[in-house]
Amino acid sequence: MLKKDLMMRNPLRAVSDENGYILPEGGLGAVVARAGVGKTALLVQLSLNSLLKGDNALHISLGDPVRKVSLWYKEVFNNIGVQYQVEKIDDLWNELLPQRFIMTFNIDGFSVPRLNERLTELADQNIFHPQMILIDGLPFNEEIKRTDLHALKELSEKFKSHIWFTVRSHRHEEPDSDGMPIQIGKFADLLDVVVKLEPEESNIKLNVLKGSGAISSQHLSLDPATMLIKE
């Protein structure tokens, strides 16, 4: 099975626009969940979705080393291989690898200007131009300010890309009055899509808290065994 077939059978296709994007160009999206529910797994699938489309994806992890992030990709990709019976999965993986770039920072060492500097350097040297940026582990509850999100939006626009974040919520916290998780309530107007992962009895539901178009009426969930998205 080739890339195209895999794309056709990808459940994320149902929630994307005609060009295959969930977010508008320069847009920001957030995946909210408690620890261990599947934020990173979903993020990796969003990334693989854009890799299969031929786009470049930059995965930024705050805290985890490159090796661990790579392992996530390998694991999710192998599961996709098994689920969709992809032959020669290693060859396909080798084909996708140059389109993916992992960058990791210590949480203290990360700042938007620093990221901008790194990305500009990569683009200037023609090493890497991301169409999709994924940021895993941004500390939304403490240090993130509105100005940071504004700066990230500018960055996303500058590179004509889309940015997805993971946001960690906590069991004991009540949502805001409009139903938004407390961590992103004050930033909700800056985000185009907010998806909350909610564990149910036999699967993990993708609950769209904010978003318009196809995403707003989706019925997707994560399979807790493989962490793959299913319809």
Binding site: V66, L97, I102, R118, N126
Partner: protein, 696 residues
């Protein structure tokens, strides 16, 4: 060797070239009375420093192979592993670091933290070796230990804290003030062997008090009792400070800094005191082995003499009495007459003569206890072999040995060089399982194979230096391979009728790509169309085809062959005929099966200061490399990438020049991947040119 384990220290002295590491070791041996005279490193007096036992080391004034030596200080037994400071010999360094429990990081008070200190420090970090620092050469003009401490913090990210203050610097360097005892120490006598402890000079009193406060504040992070005493302004003893600092050192949370000038015989004895007081004993370090009976799962070893023995041979040396094997015992007791198993090959070994080494001299001993380092005579083994009790099947290092990815032809200059070269090759292939050698049947040249350009260069240089084998080398060659990409049928008849008995054999079946191994042969012949006695000849014939692919004459891998039909003749069929038929069938199908060339891809990990991150990524990009990721860790950045080996020749020079020598890289084999079409064409063109040259 009945000493308690807490009185043992296995330490390394790590530093970049020229920071005076060997001089420091020489002084340590002098003060611990292992040697009775001091020699210069550069060998002006024709003797050379004791630790640098190899000729090349004496000549260049650098240490390449790490010798282990033993000394006693303050009722403690110290084994010193002299580690090479040159970045190109990191295999040796890493092997040494595997056996150390703690290290002294030597820095030059003038040069400070240089790129090679960064390399050495990163290696220590990788192996989680606790360390203390020694700022050497305080007698040199421009000496500034304070700045070196600052650099340790900024450039290496160490939590460095001064344990001493220098009394005078440059030509006026006289001694040190100990901030824990608040006493001054001077080094009298011709060789600084007489310690004179005195009051702190008045002009340093105030500074010493401030520095002591800084030290206590830091140390109190590791000991609540000390923290309380500090807050309540109670008296704080030397022991309290040292015990807190020891906890910090063991957890790699703090780096105490000592200072002096080894060359001028100052500050060495306090450093020895500190090594004993602050660095861990073998029981405080956890060591792991791999259980070979359980899929190489890692398990922690005990430290007791009563456990079944596990020991690692970490270095081999050719001595006048045969092979000397340096060994570290991790658990159990290794005594004369014991029988152990070499877990690499399952061979039994009987322990004969045991010695304790002092560079080139040795002392006979009866046993080596857990945590101890010694040497064995008369044992045939390779470097990195594990000796274990017959009950255990443990290995200290992974048994996985990757296949070589690069080769080089070596040509001896004359007959004498030929003999020496053979000796050297025999030794090196024992020392290093990734280094291999063979004679090419076609060209009759001796070929050496290894894991990278630098890897082979080091051995060629050692061949010249240690074995006096004058050799010239050919161009390095990448180990390309061929494989097929689709299934293809064959039906080949080998028939010859030219006088005498004829030859007849027909084989039919198919070949297809095979990802699980190099070659798979399936016999599906029914009804005896090929008689059973000729099936193995068919397999042989196909295997012969694997040696050279029809595309570019590279070895062929990843093929499954199935034979399902054939024909034989009652008189003319023979083993030879079926081998020839299978060879013909292979050639027939191979061309149809769309063969491609695969090249070795290396995992290249580069550690660079962040300011060179972009430049370094550029160099990877230019080499058809794929950057997997970049990891920022404080001032340093680690870039992981995959690059074709063919593009990595000369990379160390490029990396050094583009990062002012501040970046370093490691390279290991990752996998084989198909060569892009444009590169295949280039290779074919090159081969055609070589063919023309050969014909001319």
């Amino acid at each position: 060797m009945s000493i308690e384990i807490n009185k043992i220290r296995n330490i390394g002295i790590s530093a970049h070239i020229d920071s005076g590491k060997t001089t420091l070791t020489e002084r340590i041996l002098f003060y611990t009375q292992r040697i009775h005279a001091i020699h210069d490193v550069k060998g002006k007096d024709g003797v050379g420093a004791t630790m640098d036992s190899m000729e090349l080391e004496k000549e260049r004034g650098i240490t390449i192979a790490s010798a282990a030596t033993f000394c006693e200080w303050d009722n403690h037994e110290i084994n010193i592993i002299d580690t090479p400071g040159h970045v190109d010999f990191t295999i040796e360094v890493e092997r040494s670091l595997r056996v150390l429990d703690g290290a002294i990081l030597v820095l030059c008070s003038v040069g400070g933290v240089q790129s090679q200190s960064i390399t050495v420090d990163q290696q220590m970090k990788r192996y989680k070796v606790p360390c203390i620092a020694f700022v050497n050469k305080c007698d040199r003009s421009g000496a500034n230990p304070e700045r070196v401490i600052e650099q340790l913090r900024e450039k290496l990210g160490h939590n460095a804290i001064a344990m001493q203050l220098p009394i005078g610097l440059e030509a006026e360097h006289e001694g040190v003030v100990d901030l824990a005892t608040m006493k001054a120490t001077y080094f009298d006598g011709d060789n600084g062997e007489i310690l004179r402890v005195a009051e702190i000079p008045a002009e340093l009193q105030e500074l010493a008090e401030t520095k002591r406060e800084e030290l206590i504040e830091e140390a109190s992070n590791f000991c609540d009792e000390l923290a309380d005493a500090f807050l309540e302004e109670r008296e704080i003893s030397n022991e309290m400070i040292m015990s807190a600092m020891r906890k910090g050192v063991l957890s790699r949370s703090v780096t105490p800094v000592y200072m002096g000038s080894a060359y001028k015989n100052k500050g060495v004895q306090p450093l020895l005191d500190a090594s004993v007081a602050l660095l861990p004993d073998p029981s405080e370090v956890s060591n792991t082995a791999l259980d070979l009976n359980n899929n190489e799962t890692s398990l922690e070893l005990g430290n007791s003499n009563s456990d079944p023995t596990v020991a690692l041979a970490f270095k081999l040396e050719d001595g006048q009495y045969g092979q000397l094997t340096y060994i570290r015992v991790y658990q159990g007791n290794l005594a004369k007459g014991n029988t152990l198993i070499n877990t690499r090959n399952g061979k039994k070994i009987k322990i004969g003569r045991l010695v304790q080494m002092h560079a080139n001299q040795m002392e006979d001993i009866e046993a080596i206890s857990a945590g101890y380092i010694g040497a064995l005579f008369g044992i045939d083994c390779a470097s990195g072999d594990t000796f274990a009790d017959p009950k255990l099947n443990y290995s200290m290092t992974s048994m996985f040995v990757p296949n070589p990815v690069i080769s080089l032809a070596i040509i001896p200059k004359d007959n004498k060089a030929q003999i020496n070269m053979s000796k050297a090759l025999n030794r090196f292939s024992k020392e290093d399982p990734t280094f291999r050698t063979f004679v090419d049947d076609e060209t009759n040249e001796t070929i050496i194979e290894g894991m990278g350009e630098l890897h082979l260069e080091v051995y060629v240089e050692r061949m010249r230096r240690e074995y006096n084998a004058e050799v010239t080398t050919g161009q390095p060659r990448v180990a390309y391979r061929e494989t097929i990409t689709k299934r293809a049928e064959f039906n080949y008849t080998h028939k010859k009728q030219t006088g005498g008995s004829g030859q007849f054999g027909r084989v039919a079946g198919y070949m297809e790509p095979f990802s699980e191994g190099e070659f798979d042969f399936i016999n599906k012949i029914t009804g005896g169309s090929i008689p059973t006695q000729f099936i193995s000849s068919c397999e042989k014939g196909f295997k012969a085809g694997l040696k050279k692919g029809a595309l570019m004459e590279f070895p062929v891998t990843g093929i499954r062959v199935e034979i399902n039909d054939g024909a034989a003749h009652s008189v003319d069929s023979s083993e030879m005929a079926f081998q020839a038929a299978a060879r013909g069938a292979f050639q027939e199908a191979y061309k149809k099966a769309k063969p491609v060339i695969h090249e070795p891809i290396m995992k290249v990990v580069i550690e660079t200061p962040t300011e060179f991150q972009g430049t370094v990524m550029g160099t990877i990009n230019q080499r058809r490399g794929t950057i997997l990721g970049a990891q920022e860790e404080g001032p340093m950045c680690v870039i992981e990438s995959q690059v074709p080996l063919a593009e990595m020749f000369g990379y160390s020079t490029v990396l050094r020049s583009s990062t002012q020598g501040k970046a370093q890289f490691t390279m290991e084999f990752a996998n084989y991947r198909q060569v892009p079409q444009s590169i295949t064409e280039e290779l074919q063109k090159k081969k055609a040119e070589e063919g023309k040259k050969g014909a001319a």
